[in-house]
Every structure is written in C-alpha cells, then in structure tokens.
C-alpha cells in the first residue's frame, strides 16, 4: 500500500504531490470494519446493561421533552453535514471512476463548510460552553468503566454521562482536527485554481512545491480520515438504539426518560432535574472535572419546550447554560483524524447501553453540534 504520490518537479527534484488513493481505501475499510465489528458486537456480544452507578436524576421537575440541540445548532449541523457530504462525494467519486465536473462544486461546498465552521467556532466560544466538548478526567474514568463493562465485567458501575459522553467528544476531536486541517489546506489550495478568490497563482506567497506537496498530502489525509469517521458517524446515527439521539439533532429534543436513563444531571443539568449530589458551580472555562456549565440557575429552565435559540442568552451572569456547551467542534461532528473516535474511545456509551439499563441506550456519539442547552427564557 502506498501512502503518497511523488513526482519530479520541473527541476527534477522529488516532491510530494498528494496522497495515494490507497489511503482512501484504507480509511473506508477502517470505517466499515469498525462499523461491522461494532454491529456484530452490539448484536451478539454486548454484555447486559451496566448497573446504575447512580448520579442520575429522578425525573421529577423535568419537562417531558428536554432540549438537547437548539435550532441554530441543528441548522448548523445539517448545513455543515451537507457541505461535508458534498465535499466527500466530489472528492472521492471521481477517484472511483464516477466522473463529473467536481472541482467547482467542491470548493464552493468548501467555502460553505468554512463559513459554517467559522460560525460554529465563534458561536461555541462566545455563546456556548466551550469546554463541554473537551475530554476531561471524568470522561476518561467513565470511558474506562465502560470498557470494563464491555469486556464482560458485569457489575462494573458505569457512571451516567455528561451531555456528550467520551466517545462523542473523541469523535468530535477527531472530526474537528481533520475538518479544520482540510479547510485550512483547502483554502490554500484554492490559490492553485481559478475561483471567486482570484485567478490561479501557484507561486503566490513563494510557497515551494515541496511545501505544496505537503499541503496536498495533509488535505488528502484529513479528507480520507473524515471519510472513515463519517462512515462510523452515520452508522451510529442510524442505529435504532441511537435513533433517539439522532432525532434530537433533527427535532431538538430527547425524551425525559432518556435523560433520566442516560445523563448525570451534575454533568448536564436541565432546570428541574434534581441531582443527587451537590451541584457544582460552573462557568465558562470551568476546570476539568466540571462539565458543562450548568448548575441550576433558574434560567436554565427548559420547561416549556420553546427552545428557540434566539432569546437565550446567556446573559445573566452565572451558570448559564449557554456558555457551557462544548462545542469546540469546528467541523462539527465529522470524522476525527486518525479514525474513529469510536474505535479509539472504546468506551462507547452505547456499549454501556447495557449500562443504561432499560433501554440499553445512552447518548452515543452522535455528537457534534452545539450544545445549547439553552434555557428557554
């Protein structure tokens, strides 16, 4: 298997020119293999649900439908995914022999993707809990517990999850790194063709052709990584046992029962949820260990289900949910570089599906997107 392609530049110097398409096949294979392995495992090999390690809420005081993703987050996710899919299709279909005029569509979709990601980053930094999407100690502990459970140590206590369990977060990390890399390299690559940004000038900025080769290789690697990640992402999204999470990215809500089963109100507080432990004050940039923001300030009340994003502001000082959200995900939910968070993470909350007892479900890695637990009012 070749990793990359090389060529002699006009001066006979050996330079990289791009990845070998073997890497595409490798990423596809990795994604599908993981998917298959997981499906097989989930169907026949998954242990029973883990015991409730506590930390859940009683459900009292919670609305029937709990807002997980506000409209702005959902719009972002789907526009971004559409752009991403168009990018992947225009990138790889020609490689496998489906020929059509792909370049213009590709960079236009790329610009759209860039715009959504820029929006997302700004939004996540200033309006959401930026750290909510970053892996922390609690995540790792939970992940290890999950892993133990998965390998059959029944009875291991698996803590309930934060809004985004570790597998979601790891996927997001992978996807965001790959995505950002693809975007940055992609924008540079637009200098090499005629676009709205200007006429082709391969010599702009005096970038050497060996450097360009690296740019192309990096773009290719991030692209194939995304390809592999997206395969797993879509797999999990369409799994029936995860469908409730996927629906929340469409409609915005999860059912109260799902919240109670799967989430630790300390780590993802909804107004009205009564945690069994002390609430931990949160704020932007809260230290590792505290998850998102929360803390029951009253303005977190979701209650009415009118979660229109508009109003929420996070204003009011403290504990605002809005800030909490963790989406540092630049590319929002795309496959992480280096493949499958899910694969890496192991600790698939889904696995802990066993752990979430009744439904065998838990928020799996259909992450991405904003976490705007915006309070309605």
């Amino acid at each position: 298997m070749e990793l990359w392609r090389r060529a002699a530049n006009p001066w006979g110097q050996d330079v990289l020119i791009g990845i070998s398409w073997d890497l595409m096949w490798a990423a596809v294979f990795a994604g599908l293999a993981f998917t298959l392995a997981h499906a097989v495992w989930a169907k026949w090999l998954a242990p029973a649900a883990s015991t409730d390690a506590g930390g859940g809420s009683s459900g009292a005081g919670l609305p029937a439908q709990i807002l997980r993703h506000a409209l702005s987050e959902r719009v972002f996710h789907w526009v971004m995914s559409a752009a991403m899919l168009v990018l992947l299709i225009t990138a790889f279909a020609p490689v496998i022999g489906i020929q059509f005029a792909w370049v213009t569509i590709h960079w236009i979709a790329g610009l759209i993707l860039t715009a959504t990601i820029v929006y997302h980053i700004i939004h996540a930094v200033f309006w959401q809990d930026f750290w909510a999407m970053w892996v922390n100690k609690a995540d790792i502990e939970a992940g290890l517990a999950e892993l133990s459970h998965m390998v059959g140590r029944n009875g291991t206590e698996v803590p309930k999850a934060a809004k985004y369990p570790i597998d979601h977060k790891m996927f997001h990390h992978g996807a965001s790194v790959s995505g950002l890399t693809a975007i940055v390299t992609g924008i540079f690559m637009m200098l090499r063709i005629d676009t709205w940004l200007g006429a082709a000038n391969p010599y702009l900025l005096d970038i050497t052709d060996s450097t360009w080769g690296v740019v192309y290789v990096v773009h290719g690697i991030s692209g194939v990584a995304l390809f592999g990640l997206i395969i797993t992402h879509i797999y999990f999204a369409i799994r029936p046992d995860k469908w409730w999470i996927t629906k929340s990215m469409i409609y915005g809500f999860i059912g109260q029962d799902k919240y109670v089963e799967n989430f630790d109100p300390n780590r993802w507080a909804i107004p009205g949820a009564a945690p069994q432990e002390e609430r931990v004050p949160a704020g932007v940039g809260a230290s590792l260990g505290s998850d998102d923001a929360v803390v029951g300030s009253s303005d977190a009340a979701v209650g009415s289900g009118d979660v229109e994003s508009g109003s929420n502001d996070t204003a009011a000082g403290g504990g605002d949910l809005a800030v909490g959200g963790g989406d540092a995900a630049a590319s929002g939910g795309d496959a992480a570089a280096g493949g499958g968070d899910a694969a890496a993470g192991g600790g698939d909350a889904a696995a802990g599906g066993g752990g979430a007892a009744a439904t065998g479900e838990s928020p799996s890695d259909s992450d991405d997107g904003l976490n705007e637990s915006e309070a309605a009012s």
Binding site: I17, A101, V103, R192, N201
Partner: protein
C-alpha cells in the same frame, strides 16, 4: 532518477491483425497499454521517456480499420485511414471538402502519409509544460504551470478551462463537428457511438485525458451523415508557419443556404478551449439570416463573449471572432 530524452525505453509490442484481438489486448493491459496508430503523438512521449506503457498495441496490421466506405446515409472512415488518404479521397473531396481541407492542413505531407484520422482526433495536447513532463494537473500532479501569472501561454485556451488551460490540437476535429459526425468506440463491453463533440473530454470531468476513451477502448470508425454533403463549407487554420505547426486556431463551418438565407449551420472551432467547441450561440445568431460581413461580426462577437484570456493570448479573442466572421462571410461570397 536523472532525466534523459530522445531514447525510447523498452516496451512489449503487439501487432494484432483484427479489432477483436486489439480490444482483448487493450483490455488486458488497461492503464499499462497504449494504442499506436501513426505514432506521431506516441513517439514524442516515448522518446521523452515521459509516458512509458508496458505494452504498445500497434494497429498497423488491423486492416479492417482502414478505408473510406459509402453507407446508405453518408460515409464511414476507418480510424486508421491516413490523413493523406482522407485528404485525397475523391468522394470526401467532392461532398465533404471541409474535412479534406482540414486533413490537408495537418502537419506536413510526410506526416500525413503516416498519421491517421483516428490518431489526429485522439492525440494528446501540446501544452509545452505538459509535454515537458512537468507534474501538472493533467499529468496527475497538483499545479497548472501554464496559467500562472508569468507563464508562457500564447497558445493556450481562452475558454472552457478548469484547472487546465491547454488546447486540443486536432485540426480535423472542428471539421468533423461541423459535419455532425459520430464516432464509434469499441471496448470489451461492446460498442458505443458518440457525437463528435462529445468525444472530447472536458478537464472539469477528467483532467488527465483529452478524449473519453477509457483504457481498453478503441476508436474504430468516423461516421459522417449525408446531412451536410455538398454544403457550403469553410475551413481555415491559423498557424505560425505555413506547414508543420499545430494550429493556433482552426475553424470549420457547414452552411445550407436557401434563397440567399442561411437555412442551417454548424460552426466549430478548435484551439480556444481544452476541447473543440461547437459555437451554438453563434449558429443561432445566423440561422435564418442573410450572410454578410456584418452578420459574421455579430456572430463572432457572440461567440467570443465570456472569453477569459491568459496573459499572452488575448489575441485569440480577436482571432476567433474574425474566423467566425470569415466563415459566415464566405457563404455570402460562395
């Protein structure tokens, strides 16, 4: 690896005697195979050691690919027919002189004696960057050197570019498009027939090929319907010297006059884009009208709308406009 030129590297040579065997060989070798007809394009690549197929399938003995045959609705030319034979053919000269004019302007008499019509249509571009072995997009690389701001591009395109600004070099292509010709392609999965202009690949779709031929396929026949037999034709080739050169531009037109008015028309140019272009908008302008120099100017102006010249080839806009003008004007004089 150091570079050396002018020494053909080794390859395995096959000389099948019929199309079926040819296709079988091409299919077997796929991307490692190469079709050799007259050799005018192939040997340049081989001598420069830039393209190095493992297997060369030489059509010299495939006699069934040669010849000009009358058919119930026109004429059929075997792809391996030499350009001299096309140019000199009495029926072609009598009825489809735009093609014989085109053929007789190709290269030199010596080259026409060996070069074939199919080869002329299928040949690779002569962008000097690409031909120099530079790792451009067309060569599988990640740059276009010819469209860079300081590049040497007087011969490159003014439209239709998509990362590649080379031009198609075939002098016969424009004539065959003007004749509504169809090309017959055979492969292991059977035969397909395409319109002449669809034979040529757009770089936006596949930047590495000039034609739609896939590895394992062979252009076997050029079919000319009788639609334009004995029409009013115009052909002109603009080149730096009077012989030998690839065209800066060619134009071919076929016009049916009726009562002093252009009843129907085909206009095709080559040398303006990475593929030969049928000028449908210009055709629309002139259809149904009386040909004149002014009408020609009008059509030419329409034809060149939206042209995107490079640093050294803005003259091609004027040249294209004027060639269209002359084609239209000619039918007034004819």
């Amino acid at each position: 690896m150091a570079v050396i030129r002018d020494m053909i590297p080794a390859f395995e040579l096959f000389q099948p005697t019929n199309v079926e065997d040819t296709i079988e060989l091409l299919d077997r070798y796929g991307e490692d195979g190469w079709v050799l007809s007259g050799g005018m394009d192939s040997f340049d690549w081989f001598k420069d050691r830039i393209k190095r197929p493992a297997a060369v399938v030489d059509l010299v003995n495939v006699d069934e690919l040669r010849g000009v045959r009358t058919t119930p609705d026109g004429v059929e030319i075997g792809a391996l027919t030499t350009l001299t034979n096309v140019a000199d053919h009495p029926e072609l000269t009598a009825d489809y002189s735009v093609l014989t004019d085109a053929a007789s302007h190709i290269a030199t008499p010596q080259i026409r004696n060996r070069g074939t019509l199919g080869g002329n249509l299928s040949q690779d571009t002569r962008c000097w960057y690409y031909r120099g072995g530079w790792p451009c997009y067309r060569a599988g690389g990640n740059t276009c050197y010819a469209s860079a701001p300081t590049a040497m591009n007087r011969e490159h395109c003014i439209s239709g570019s998509s990362r590649c600004v080379a031009v198609n070099p075939s002098d016969s292509a424009s004539a065959l498009i003007a004749l509504d010709a169809k090309f017959v392609i055979r492969g292991s999965r059977g035969e397909r027939v395409v319109d002449a202009q669809d034979y040529f690949m757009r770089p936006s779709v596949d930047i590495e090929r000039m034609t739609i031929l896939k590895p394992g396929e062979l252009l076997t026949t050029i079919r000319i319907p009788s639609t334009w037999a004995k029409a009013t034709f115009y052909y002109e080739k603009i080149e730096d010297r009077k012989s030998w050169d690839f065209a800066l531009m060619t134009i071919a037109s076929a016009i049916r006059m009726s009562g002093g008015v252009i009843q129907d028309v085909r206009l095709a140019v080559n040398g303006v884009a990475p593929f030969p272009v049928r000028l449908e908008k210009a055709e629309q302008v002139v259809r149904g009208r009386t040909p004149s120099d002014d009408l020609g100017m009008e059509a030419g102006t329409v034809a060149t709308e939206g042209a995107q010249p490079l640093r050294h080839n803005a003259y091609k806009i004027d040249l294209m406009r004027n060639l269209v003008r002359r084609a239209i004007r000619n039918s007034a004089e004819a």
